[in-house]
Symmetry: C2
Amino acid sequence: MAGRETITLTPAQRLAWLRLVRTDNVGPVTFRQLLNRFGSAEAAIDALPALGKKAGRPLNVISQARAEDEIAGLARYGARLVAQGEADYPEHLNYIAGAPPIITMAGGQKLDWQRSIGIVGARTASTAGIKMTRLLASDLGAKGYVVVSGLARGIDSAAHRAALETGTIAVLAGGFDRIYPDENIPLAHDILDSGGALLTEMPLGWEPRARDFPRRNRLVSGLSLGVVVVEAAKRSGSLITARLALEQDREVFAVPGSPLDPRAEGGNLLIQQGARLVTCADDIIEGLGNINPARRMLFDPEWQPESGGDAAPPAETDRARLLEALSTTPVEVDELIGQTGIAPHAMQILLLELDLTGQVEWSSGQLVGLRHN
Amino acid sequence: MAGRETITLTPAQRLAWLRLVRTDNVGPVTFRQLLNRFGSAEAAIDALPALGKKAGRPLNVISQARAEDEIAGLARYGARLVAQGEADYPEHLNYIAGAPPIITMAGGQKLDWQRSIGIVGARTASTAGIKMTRLLASDLGAKGYVVVSGLARGIDSAAHRAALETGTIAVLAGGFDRIYPDENIPLAHDILDSGGALLTEMPLGWEPRARDFPRRNRLVSGLSLGVVVVEAAKRSGSLITARLALEQDREVFAVPGSPLDPRAEGGNLLIQQGARLVTCADDIIEGLGNINPARRMLFDPEWQPESGGDAAPPAETDRARLLEALSTTPVEVDELIGQTGIAPHAMQILLLELDLTGQVEWSSGQLVGLRHN
């Protein structure tokens, strides 16, 4: 894509990537750190038991058989695993914090993944909101844009339906076999039948929990040049998507509405905060002209294992000192290094161990703090 | 007001100001030029017949009796004439291009003319638009702001009504005895009874024509710190008021609405062009914080007659040369001087004569061009 050099994993590598991604507490950031430290997913998997032991908690790496089962199960759904760096990996996702190392997708081979716009909004949308969504989605489709959304009720569904003929991408919050809500299973089939795509970063069989929806939303915005919010309350998933889109340096568009209509509160608020007011597809396309196409690559898929393997391992006192310095307020690693005096290489290993054992968590891929429990 | 030195016209001066203001083609700019050149309204009136003769067209100065009739007539309506520079002249009006040299007003003695917000919108407003207007006007009133509007049907009327208790100012497009529309005569009385104000720059007996409404709108915005547009079509008087407000360096606020509602088109367009989206009175008050209170005084009420009275009068060939240089596209006087080589003083006299005889017109008080016929 876009002339970038791509990799193709061997079946054994893909299996190892999948096992590592599916290991407890291995998020996108930890995955990259493990590959960085051990050189390959296979080597990281071999090293995990010892890492867990050091941090005082066992680590559950999923078995090779379970990973093989997932791959076989996905094939039955016509879905495939795509790793970051591979040709099919959506280009725009490379530039978001916490890009999933591996995604499951089906369909979408002929879509223009580069010209993609997210449309999100209320599940309990008004008739006018649905009508507006249809207008925007079909007009954007007619002008060559692919419509990305989350397959939810209301605005999401209307956006997908109106873009079936021209191309649409649905991002799931759960596994491929756990489409939510049930009533949208036929829509998911229609999307695939029409050449659209379904994708998720979650394992087969994963039932989506509340916290998985904001996580999914970062992929809706991450896959898109910009996101349009059609009807949204002040505290809503759509506003989270808009915030994530801003963090990802994507354009945010909002459809205005009467201040007397609670469903317009979110959109009006976004406009007050700087989102572009849009009334038609052309307003959106015009707004995309302002997007800076030179994005910062957060995770280079052509990473190399680091050469510092011989540096001194962390001392036992370092781990205690680090745990004392950490709080639930996330801070930068450099601050932790400055405060504790722990050497950078030892700090990296300690954080990796604490991350793998669920004791710390990363925000935006750059800040680290104690995990809230 | 605001510590500025004020003048008080003698009855004779007031009569002369009124006669001069009511003379054909004597607009605010010409009025100032005449006072500048002749030192007083009385002297200007004496000089007008000769000026008209030079420019080849007779000039109708209204008679002293007619001016006296107007003053007597106004008294019957409880109205008074207020000249620019006098204590009662609304402070904000001093800073607009073409501030009326004299206005007719009634009531308003206890209003805080400095804390004033214009609310304008569609005559054929929706129920939601009327409700929104009432909310904004009554909340602004409760927070100490005076509501300015144009006494039209729809949004204007709703704004005045909701602000009766707290203070409201209605600007008329015609004479004091020609309130338009008729159905709002009771509202005009209610405004006066509640301590509000009515004002106009037009003579008693003047029936408002279509072109008088945009002219009136410049006073609605000119009297206000900012203007709120509630419901407005794309081509509407409210959008003209918003444009005038911007030219006058006033803040422009707009209430958003669904793109599917034609009455929201004007407001949404204004927001796209940079107006502040507002959903409540606090949004407006917050937006006023950005207003630069250091305004440029366009016409200093403490003018002095210029001393260049002895400079050479224009040559006959100058007039022909100037008429040739002018077109209906307004240009700056300095450009005309540069192009024609006519001396500045002579240029001023020629433009004054052409202005008085209706051959040229001024835009924004600074650009001059041939009058469209």
